[in-house]
């Protein structure tokens, strides 16, 4: 399957379920009635945007609809799409684009850090860049073997030490090795950890400070969040951001039916750009982020019909 069809398949599945819901609303009445607003609030909640956010967004939108005299559901939904898209923050191009960069992928257990690291390595390699992977997960069983497989798939070099060794020194060596081979993209996978574990968060801070000291290229911290995550995603992002000063976010597993609404709250509160989307387990299942498209994934994409 080609790149395009893969990611559209992932996202459309998400979007279609939503579109059906909203179509129902549209067909119910050409006018925007109470049922419409209720249904809209439900759809927003179901997207994991959060109960308060959903209520607030609907309130705001009702005001706008009255103010602007929006009469039909389609206009309202377009306005909503704009409103949500506007929550997302521009930027983050410097993290993976063009210029040299050292990127550390962080996040809770199982969010998709290693897989994403592998996919990004492949994409960058294909774009002609010199990539090196660093295995900063020296903790989880077989994490090293897992990243090695991805390095092989992407055809890039990997720097790893045995399990249990100090992750900071692995990072140090990776940067050194990257310098030696003239790498312009250093991608470092880190061990999954819950933001509630003070010890592990401290360990990560130490790793990052070692990397920053040693770095010859700009250092970027990217939080990987699973799209199925509910309201706790915001808490995760907050804690990781407090500890590490994040530069961007990647949302994975958008090939399921989860809509990834928590990304809106994360963008809103932490002003972090979303740099990539994960839409599957394959090498190519990586997608660029587009605010309107993402909002449409939550909302149904009426503009295109």
């Amino acid at each position: 399957m080609g790149l395009f069809s893969r990611f559209t398949e992932g996202l459309t599945r998400t979007r279609e379920a939503f579109r059906e819901d909203v179509n129902l609303l549209l067909n119910r009445s050409p006018e925007v009635d109470e049922d419409f607003w209720d249904g809209l609030e439900e759809a927003l909640i179901v997207s994991d945007m959060g109960g308060y956010s959903a209520a607030t967004i609907v309130d705001k939108l009702r005001n706008e609809a009255t103010r602007k005299g929006l009469r039909n559901a389609r206009d309202v939904l377009n306005a909503l799409n704009d409103q949500i898209a506007a929550e997302f923050v521009e930027g983050g191009d410097e993290i993976l684009g063009g210029e040299g960069s050292i990127v550390l992928f962080v996040g809770v257990n199982g969010s998709g850090k290693t897989t994403t690291t592998g996919k990004i390595a492949k994409q960058a390699k294909d774009a002609g860049r010199t990539v090196i992977l660093g295995c900063g997960d020296t903790f989880r069983a077989a994490a090293i073997e897992q990243l090695e497989v991805w390095a092989q798939r992407a055809g890039v070099e990997i720097c790893a030490r045995e399990r249990g060794s100090d992750p900071a020194s692995v990072c140090y060596e990776t940067i050194e090795r990257g310098e030696a081979i003239g790498a312009d993209l250093v991608l470092i996978d880190t061990a999954g950890r819950l933001h509630t574990s003070a010890d592990l968060m401290r360990e990560l801070e130490k790793v990052v400070s070692v990397v920053r000291k040693r770095a010859n290229l700009p250092v970027h911290l990217v939080l990987v969040i699973d799209a199925t995550t509910g309201q706790n995603g915001l808490q995760q992002a907050r804690e990781f951001n407090n500890a590490l000063d994040l530069d961007g976010v990647i949302i994975t597993k958008l090939d399921g039916t989860a809509k990834g609404g928590i990304a809106v709250a994360v963008a809103h509160y932490l002003k972090l750009p979303i740099v990539k989307l994960g839409v599957g387990e394959g090498l190519e299942d990586l997608k660029d982020f587009d605010a309107h498209e993402y909002a449409a994934g939550l909302l149904g994409d009426f503009g295109q019909e």
Partner: protein, 481 residues
Amino acid sequence: MFDSLQDQLQEVFDDLKGKGRLTEDDIRVAMRRVRMALLEADVSFKVVKSFVAKASARCMEADVLDSLTPAQNVIKVVLDELTSLLGETDARLNLQQGKHPNIIMLVGLQGSGKTTAAAKLAYLLKGEGHNPLLVACDVYRPAAADQLQTLGGEIGVRVYRGEGKDPVKIAKDGMQYAIDNLCDVAIVDTAGRLHVDEEMMAEAESIKAAVDPDEVLMVVDAMTGQDVVNVVETFSARVDFDGVIMSKMDGDARGGGALSIREATGKPIKFISSGEKPSSLEVFHPDRMARRILGMGDVVSLIESAVKVQQQEEEAEATERLRRMDLNLNDFLDMNRQIRKMGGVGKLISALPGGDKMMSQGQVDAHALDRMEVIINSMTKQEREKPDLINGSRRARIAAGAGVTVTAVNQLLKQYSETRKQVKKMMAAYGDFDERPGRKGRPKKGGKKGKKGGSRGRRMAMPGMGGMSLADLKKIQEMME
């Protein structure tokens, strides 16, 4: 745009403090906030809706504790309701003694924590004296089998990896391996899969069909949001799992998915997994989970202590009456309720020596108490407290209210006075109520859970019945025939 939950919840209590009794309005306002709390805990939208409706109805009929504000009373009902919904079924592993091997299969989404959970389960079973085997059926994620093998090595549990890329074959070969190596439990770890991935769901079905597991457990990440319903419904329909392991409970996610899972599939949560250590798999406690989902620690502690105080007061009062050898009709009702909680008269009598025989010979009328309750219910408060007040015209009124004959009412009152006499005799036979030094003369606080009270070492006390024993109940039952 996104107000903090804590502030919102605080408002609930500020709004409602000191307003006295629960009104429909109180319930509605408090429930609005409960609804938000549940949504913020990731309980699925539809489940929140039906839960709030159900709990609101319960609030209307619930007893109100005077020591709590109306909002706190609402929260109390919500908490009780949540606890009971979360824990309605027996949540043990279905392992069959003597079967070799018992088979446990794990399924779930990618990254939910199946492999870690498999190792933890093996560790737990090993600690219980089993000889488990871990079977690595994830042939997709790079190094998944390595991960299981490493974990198995760390906890001293055998791991079967098999050959090739066919998880169905690996699973089947794994079962043979378990038999050959005298492993009495085989734990099949499968690849993470999306519920919408038709091919992968079919594969899970095939693995299940091939090994015919005794227990299929679905591993669900406690952080999962609204999508959990779609996921578990599909997994339930396709592989019909028996229970759930909630993973990553060491985080601060409120885990509202647990409630959604119960409501959407009826499947119980069996374990919670909290941490990366092999020992961090624990039995699921519905009450703790209910509190976590609701997330109002302070209020909940407050409610719990108020409930405790109330219980103690009620028990002390009942005990005091017994001490004065003065049983009233409310005590009759209490007894009936306690007995029903314990499974009814039938069960109670069966538990007594010779009780089974009595039951089978039809000597016990299991519904006598229920009939009594109907009659007592149509008495006024005063009449229940002072049955001596009940004269002829009152009897006629009570009979009409309960839809029984006056004879039935007379019979009840006769039973009551006989019971009272009997209780008096029993109490006299026990001698002084409190035998512990330094507490003479004070009524002891009910025989709650048989732990407190002076009946220790003498007779087993009945819960909430101030020192009465099973044997006494039997006598009462005999009198009522």
